[in-house]
């Protein structure tokens, strides 16, 4: 792997991985103020949030399972998507150049941004050039990632979030906790309170019925949509061979922002490009079913450059790196860039469901966030995220583009340990434990001995889970309970129960 990046051109203070600058500190929302275990403990203590999340994720899991189950070629679609994304990453430079040429040929203007600060400066300049002091925004993770709203506010430009959930979050001076349903941690009563307090023009008799709350949002935003001069969006997909941009949404706020303003500015991560028009037929089937659990989302908009007499007169596309090339440089970690932001992985994740999205500290929470954020920032800045998982594998099973999240988590843990050793830190208890476990598991005899020894551990649990181990193993149990080791190991039970000549099923003892 080549490492001929130019560190001299990197913005001050940014880290590098294999010579690739990562997302700079001090701008945007990829880093939390505290490690995951600390933030997760607060999330766990928030019973209201846990109730909201448990209800929401259970409901969306059931919807997704139903609409995925009716697609006979779901696995073939997943495999095609995985292959398209892998092929895209392998030739990302060519596809981006092709996209740029197509967008330019159809009247759009393409801008490139090395990082968050540069992207923000470009957008601020474009809004000013349009003579506007406000803009309407479609929900966009890329613009949340770079802290665009704050940068616009600092330049005296007001950005109005128009997605209902983003509006709830913005009015509540809050932060998104889920990539699809950013206000998933808020229930209807809390949302009513926020609207009454912040909207100004709202009927004081507003009830907490969801339809009434949606109606209040419609009234609140209507005038803004009809008079907006500048719209700002992200992109779900950008098609290299035709220059087509695609935004998938439900409410119609996306169509408003993409169609009515004179100037449209779209900010997208460089990994969102797909090679060919027909690749869209794969993703437009996978995304809605994985995301909202619908056969198709209510509205999808696709446009190419500027269309005479239809929609914006000026179209700007900002292509954002901000640490993506650092992720690209890691051949295993690179698959995190395949993500199409459906959020299925967070809806099945037992850790996410209990800790909540805020605990991850980054705009990208859940399993995908645990592998994406540390790669964008450099693992030094998000060292606890690769451990924010039980490696149960549910995320891999539901991922529509087949990202093997558990394997990438393990890979990033190894990178973290390696990085710590590199800077001269003594290996921590976790590294020693993992190394010891590898040695023990490498030999059947050692493993059997260790398992028998483990049974002694039952004494520590007094019949329940082990809450704390003696040092140095206390580092493990500080943030975890340890299940009581089984009285009989599976290996011992198997040997006893499957002796030659004995009929299977004649149990001499329970497996536990």
């Amino acid at each position: 792997m080549s490492t001929n990046g130019d560190p001299g051109a990197a913005p001050a203070g940014s880290m590098t991985f294999l010579g690739m600058p990562t997302a700079p500190r001090g701008v945007g929302h990829l880093r939390g103020s505290e490690p995951f275990p600390v933030a997760a403990r607060r999330g766990l203590a928030d019973t209201q949030q846990r109730r909201n999340l448990a209800k929401a994720t259970a409901s969306i899991r059931a919807k997704r399972a139903a609409v995925v189950g009716e697609v006979p070629d779901w696995e073939e679609l997943r495999e095609a998507a995985r292959a398209i994304k892998a092929a895209t990453m392998a030739h990302l430079d060519r596809y981006l150049e092709q996209l740029e040429a197509q967008v330019t040929a159809r009247g759009g203007v393409v801008h490139w941004a090395r990082d968050a600060g540069e992207a923000n400066a470009i957008v601020v300049g474009l809004v000013r050039a349009a003579g506007a002091s406000e803009a309407v925004k479609v929900k966009s993770l890329a613009t949340d990632e770079i802290g665009l709203n704050e940068a616009l506010a600092a330049a005296g430009i007001q950005a109005h979030e128009t997605d209902l959930a983003e509006l709830i979050v913005q009015l509540g001076q809050d932060w998104p906790s889920h990539i699809l349903v950013p206000a998933i941690h808020r229930n209807r009563a809390e949302i009513r309170e926020i609207f009454l307090r912040e909207m100004g023009d709202v009927d004081p008799g507003l009830t907490d019925v969801p339809a009434a709350l949606a109606e209040a949002a419609r009234r609140h935003l209507r005038r803004r949509f009809l008079s907006a001069k500048v719209g700002i969006s992200g992109a779900n997909f950008a098609v290299a061979d035709s220059g087509a941009l695609c935004v998938v949404e439900s409410e119609g706020n996306g169509r408003m922002c993409l169609t009515l303003p004179e100037t449209l500015i779209t900010v997208m991560g460089i990994e969102k490009v797909i090679p060919a028009w027909r690749d869209l037929e794969v993703f437009l089937q996978l995304l809605p079913r994985s995301s909202t659990g619908e056969r198709m989302n209510p509205y999808t908009s696709i446009w190419t450059g500027v269309t005479p007499a239809d929609g914006p007169r000026n179209f700007h596309l900002v292509l954002l790196d901000n640490g993506r090339t650092a992720a690209l440089a890691d051949e295993t970690g690179r698959s995190a860039l395949h993500c199409i932001r459906c959020s299925a992985c967070m809806n099945v994740c037992p850790v996410y469901e209990r800790a909540g999205g805020h605990a991850y500290g980054s705009i990208y929470p859940g399993p995908i966030g645990a592998i994406l954020s540390p790669q964008l920032t450099g693992i030094e800045d998000n060292p606890s995220l690769p451990y924010a998982s039980s490696l149960c594998g549910a995320c891999y099973d539901v991922c529509p583009v087949k990202i093997d999240i558990p394997s990438v988590l393990v890979h990033l843990r190894a990178r973290h340990v390696e990085a710590a050793r590199h800077v001269g830190l003594l290996p921590g208890p976790e590294a020693i434990t993992m190394a010891a476990a590898a040695w023990v598991m490498a030999s059947p005899a050692r493993f059997a001995t260790a398992q028998r020894a483990g049974r002694i551990g039952r004494a520590l649990g007094r019949g329940g889970p082990i809450r704390s181990l003696p040092p140095p193993l206390s580092a493990w149990t500080r943030s975890r309970d340890l299940p009581l080791p089984a009285a009989t190991s599976f290996r011992d039970w198997w040997r006893r129960d499957h002796q030659p000549g004995k009929a299977p099923g004649q149990h001499h003892g329970e497996p536990r």
Partner: protein
């Protein structure tokens, strides 16, 4: 170095030596993605009747209003829909052939109205380009009988006329009928949100009522 050149050179460094040589040589220019297994369904054989039934079922599932009719009865179906809606003044694309409307209903050809002006209409009537039965999706491509995107967005009511020969079974069949250089809008039911406790609410910013008239072939 410009940001463009720097990002591109970072990518080349990151992906290594094979960067810039896409699989299959000239395939990049032809717009293919190299060795991608496409073992998913790209066609589903079904009669027009089956497809229209499925499309109608899906649209009703999204809480759109659906009316099946024949070419001979189309004018009556449009009149009935508008009367039911109590629409007085509707905007239509300049290229849409419309039958005589009920007395008191005025169809105004789109003349590049501003968003505020469009907000004053009771609804819009358009044709469609393609519809996908399995997903209940109607696709507009900005042709003369569908008009520019804003007219089906700002008014609160969209009456859409879909002909049987425009209905395909699968998303890939639709994508292959469409041209990427046209502004496309895929519509699957009226606008909706599930942002509050994941409870679906129909009608946020787009038209809150979607009325589809499906015209059978014979």
């Amino acid at each position: 170095m410009s940001a463009r050149d720097e990002v591109l050179s970072r990518i080349r460094a990151a992906v290594g030596a094979n960067a810039g040589a896409p699989p299959g040589g000239d395939s990049l220019a032809a717009g293919t993605s190299g060795e991608v297994p496409r073992d998913y369904r790209i066609r589903r054989e079904a009669s027009e009747g089956e497809l229209i039934d499925l499309l109608a079922d899906r649209l009703v599932g999204y809480r759109a209003t659906v009316r099946r009719t024949s070419q001979a009865e189309l004018a009556a179906a449009i009149r009935e829909a508008l009367t039911q809606r109590r629409a007085r003044r509707v905007v239509v694309p300049p290229g849409l052939d419309l039958p005589a409307l009920p007395p008191g209903v005025q169809a105004v050809a789109d003349d590049g109205f501003s968003a505020q002006e469009l907000d004053g209409f009771d609804g819009a009537i358009t044709a469609a380009a393609v519809a996908v039965a399995e997903t209940g999706t109607i696709i507009l491509d900005g042709s003369a009988d569908q008009g520019r995107r804003a007219i089906t967005l700002v008014p609160d009511y969209h009456l859409c006329i879909v002909r049987a020969d425009q209905v395909v079974a699968l998303v890939p069949e639709a994508i292959r009928r469409l041209r990427p250089d046209r502004p496309l809008t895929l519509i699957s039911g009226p606008s909706a949100t599930s942002d509050i406790e994941l409870e679906r609410v129909e009608g946020v910013h787009g038209p809150r009522t979607l009325h589809v008239i499906l015209v059978d072939a014979s």
